[in-house]
Amino acid sequence: MSEVERKLSSKFYSEMDKLAPRYPTRQALLLPALHQAQEETRWLSSETMAEIGAYLGMHPAKVREVASFYTMYNLEPVGKYHLKVCTNAACLLRGADDLVEHCKKKLGIQCGETTPDQRFTLMEEECLGACGTAPAMMLNDDYVENLTVQKMDEILVKH
């Protein structure tokens, strides 16, 4: 595994080296490493995961196994703006399904798809923990709450 070429930045490696002493095992760095790598590369390719595996002394299959368990790791390319609209109970009660339909129509894509210009990826999301300010969504790393169709339109136009 040692012959894997290093493509992740030196920042990635220095961040991970800094974090390493905080855990008793190397493998515990896997989730932080996947997050950090995704921040650099936007999505996690086979090569990136193999590189992380090599760094942590893990078989690439184990890296894949873990990465694919968590929905936040993008194992395929995503658009510049990643819209994750919560449609779970509390948001549904507040009209989230209409918002999703609106987005689909506006962007011309289905959930799980990316616009041809690679700008928007639309996804239905599970509960974001923002039920008191429903409906809510994530726009990349940020929460957008108390959503309305108008607010959604403003966001889509702005970006």
Binding site: S46, H59, P60, A61, K62, R64, E65, S68, F69
Partner: protein
């Protein structure tokens, strides 16, 4: 010993033993899929859930150690209801393609369905399907049949020590894969097919070859190396189809390597010489036994002989050869694996089973006092080479050679005569493994062609020589 009660029966147990094993020791079957005595207990399939007095919920027998005075019910209504429901859950997405599944007849899902399941299907939705990716040359994956027991994952990580089979995605979408469909690297891949309780991982080698209920099985010992893994040969109409390991706590546990598993193929190989063969000029032809032994006797006449025995022969065969050599005052040596001349040079190749000596009876040869072959003693003009099928033939130049045992057409060139003998699958006999344990080869099939036992051939040869001398 501690005691508990299972289905009204008092059962003794060693503290720490799980309820599946405790029940098994009393002849009570608790069905399970994910449990395997060699692997970490994960309690995932939920099939082994049983009732324990004083506990409100059903408990999984695999993950519950028996305790003194415990009262267990494996056939209560609640237990049965759970078994029925787990069976139903496992079948809703199963393709029910038993008619073309190689596992049929040896499938836990099939058997438990009959025993514990329902006769009705209530599932009306579309079944979940996967595209089957390749996993290399040994294993055929059929994900649609998978019941997610994860035995394969644990076998790779815990036994084969290569975590190359993993589960990706999660929940209902969980799929068993190798990363990017890479071929399996382990040299123990065949075990994946053994531990898979359904037809999800089957042997490519055995695919669509035979319905298993037509096969007869013979328990014997692997001849692939000096480990001596216990195994079973499946055969029909004097043809070998499959080989599987048989549990032996002291030698191979539940496992065997692929080399050993697929070794049997040479037995039915068409290039194998299964009747006597003699050289006529630069050509070879088949001969009757009488003609071949005559020819051998004449080749051997007035030569200075050496007897070379493969360490793939049984103790009994090697003893015959020893006697034969003694009667001719010829030196005798054994050969088998280049670089592994004696037991002290034999060692483990990996942490599981594979040994350096690629023959089964190196250690037996030493027991018989036969020395390893290094080079031809001065003045030798002829060699009798006896071989079981695995031993690597020594390269001997400028002497005449007679081969006795298992040889292949492309090996015949250096031999004036080949007297065909039985492979390990066609004979009974004793071999001594690297631990010094004596084990028995058992004949699974009759000798192929007109092959004769080695002892008989040597006797025949002796007689012919005597007659010629008269």
């Amino acid at each position: 010993m501690a005691k508990c009660t299972i289905d009204g029966k008092t059962v003794e147990f060693q503290p720490g033993t799980n309820l599946i094993e405790v029940a098994r020791s009393a002849g009570i079957e608790i069905p399970y899929y994910c449990y395997h005595p060699a692997l970490t207990v994960v309690a995932q399939c939920r099939m082994c859930a049983i009732e324990i007095e004083g506990m409100p919920k059903l408990q999984t027998a695999c993950s519950t150690a028996a305790t003194e005075g415990m009262v267990v019910k494996t056939t209560s209504d609640r237990t049965k209801q759970n078994q029925k429901s787990v069976q139903e859950f496992l079948l809703i997405n199963h393709p029910l393609d038993c008619s073309i599944c190689d596992q049929a007849g040896e499938c836990d899902l099939q058997d438990f369905s009959f025993k514990y399941g329902s006769d009705k299907i209530r599932y009306e939705e579309e079944r979940r399907t996967f595209v089957d990716d390749d996993m290399g040359s040994v294993i055929k994956k059929n994900m649609n049949r998978c019941i997610h027991c994860t035995r394969c994952i644990r076998f790779g990580a815990e036994v084969a020590k290569i975590p190359e089979i993993v589960a990706v995605q999660r929940g209902n979408h969980t799929e068993i894969v190798t990363v990017d469909n890479q071929p399996l690297q382990t040299e123990y891949a065949g075990n994946y097919a053994d531990i898979c309780p359904v037809g999800s991982l089957t042997l490519k080698d055995f695919r669509f070859k035979k319905r298993v209920w037509f096969l007869k099985k013979t328990e014997t010992v692997c001849e692939g190396c000096s480990r001596g893994c216990n195994m079973e040969l499946s055969h029909e109409k004097n043809e070998l189809y499959r080989c599987k390991p048989v549990f032996n706590a002291d030698i191979n546990k539940w496992w065997m390597c692929d080399e050993g598993r697929f070794n049997f193929h040479y037995v039915n190989d068409e290039k194998r010489v299964i009747s006597p063969r003699i050289r006529v000029g630069s050509e070879y032809r088949q001969a009757e036994w009488a003609e071949a032994t005559d020819r051998a006797a004449s080749v051997l006449k007035n030569t200075k002989m050496v007897v070379l025995v493969g360490s793939d022969l049984t103790q009994e065969e090697a003893s015959f050869a020893q006697k034969y050599a003694k009667s001719l005052s010829a030196p005798i040596f054994h050969f088998g694996t280049p670089g592994v001349r004696n037991a002290s040079e034999d060692s483990d190749i990996d942490s599981l089973l594979k040994r350096k000596s690629k023959t089964a009876n190196l250690h037996g040869m030493e027991k018989l006092g036969i020395a390893p072959f290094e080079s031809l003693p001065v003045g030798i003009t002829c060699a009798i080479v006896l071989r079981g099928g695995r031993a690597k033939l020594p390269v001997l130049s400028n002497i005449t050679q007679v081969g006795i045992g298992v040889f292949f057409a492309d090996e015949s060139k250096s031999y004036d005569v080949i007297l065909s003998g039985p492979s390990f699958a066609e004979k009974d006999g004793t071999v001594v493994n690297s631990q010094g344990t004596e084990q028995k080869f058992k004949a699974a099939i009759r000798p192929l062609g007109s092959s004769k036992p080695l002892g008989e051939i040597l006797e025949l040869l002796g007689q012919t020589a005597k007659e010629a001398a008269r």
